[in-house]
Amino acid sequence: MGCPHCGRVHEAPGPDMCVRCGWRLAANVPDTSLQWVWAWFFAGLIAYIPANIYPMLRTQSLGRTSESTILEGVVELLHHGSYSVAIIVFVASIAIPIGKFFAIAYLALSIQRKVRQGVHGRYRLYEVVEFIGRWSMIDVFVVAILAALVQLDFAATINPGIAAISFALSVAFTMLSAQSFNPKTIWAYGDHSKT
């Protein structure tokens, strides 16, 4: 049994924690990590719904208040002709979160079904999900920066909308969901040919 963090080898049944680095050791199969994956997954999914319905930004300008959701923000950028930024925002706040939900569900289901095919591909997918998920926070930071910059003494005021909170929560929950995966379970049912 190897430590998932530092690779120290322990004899099975080993201790609960790695003797070198103190990381939690879990036996590969059966594995309880999937319960956490699903729990955070649904928390993230639930938080993602209001994130899209409610406004992300409230702009007050000359007595008029306009509110825009995530999607409207992207459309607005397109109208301004800033296509590259529109693509960045679209990818970070819409494509990545939705893609992540599908990827996590697919990975978790294939582990539950003990699928043997395509381990390498699935492991790549897991790495991509882990790496890319954090980038969705961009939109939350953009809202924070805009709100800090554009304050009362200007012609316009920008305030964060309620969606900023639920979007940030959704990103955090899906990050936790991805982190809860025990990558070894992907390999556990996969090919043993090359070991």
């Binding site: 930024v85 924070a144 003494d153 200007f154």
Partner: protein, 199 residues
């Protein structure tokens, strides 16, 4: 002997030459990639990042000019915007992600690696501290914040004239230095050294 951290394939690792890297044959995870003088360099880079970070927090990083008025914002302002009403939680989260966690991670690394780079015994509790720094790694989002600044710049471009303050460049430099530092980090080497020196 080590097990691959991601797929449990077992290896007896020979001494890997400095500058080379060993990958798992099955899943291609990098097992170890020792670098010459890595500890010292990491400590130096982490200290640099720490100073840059402090500069980035308190100097203005964006300047907005509209109708003859100028507004300067520092990162502290960004964190404090949310500090009233229902957005307090968000303020704490944003502050943690772009300021507190990156700073803590740098401090933890310096604390763990500085004694080792001098060849001393590891500091007290070096093991849990290093584990902590590895755990918060995905949550320290300075580089994402930089991209956020760029997006915000373009969003308000029509509204007012914007210019970048000194802190923006400090922050951008910080992102580069952190990336460089992570490149030198070899988890396995650090854990091995920690284990050996403890005895």
């Amino acid at each position: 002997m080590i097990a691959c951290p991601t797929c449990d394939a077992l290896y007896t690792l020979p001494d890997v030459a400095e500058g080379a890297r060993a990958r798992c044959r099955r899943c291609h995870t990098v097992l170890t990639a020792p670098r010459k003088g890595a500890m010292t360099r990491i400590v130096m880079l982490a200290s640099t990042s720490f100073i840059l970070m402090l500069a980035a927090i308190f100097f203005p990083f964006l300047e907005l000019t509209a109708a003859g008025r100028t507004q300067r914002s520092s990162i502290m302002d960004v964190v404090l915007v949310f500090a009233d009403g229902p957005f307090v939680g968000l303020a704490i989260a944003v502050g943690a992600l772009i300021v507190v966690l990156p700073l803590l991670r740098l401090l933890a690394l310096i604390y763990v690696l500085a004694p080792m780079s001098f060849g001393w015994r590891p500091a007290r509790d070096a093991i849990p501290v290093f584990r902590f720094s590895e755990r918060i790694k995905p949550w320290s989002m300075a580089e994402i914040f930089i991209v956020g600044v760029a997006v915000a710049l373009i969003k308000v471009a029509g509204l007012a004239h914007l210019s970048l303050g000194p802190a923006f460049w400090a922050f951008a430099a910080l992102v580069l230095v952190v990336a460089l530092k992570d490149n030198f980090m070899c988890r396995l080497t650090i854990w091995k050294t920690l284990e050996h020196r403890r005895q």
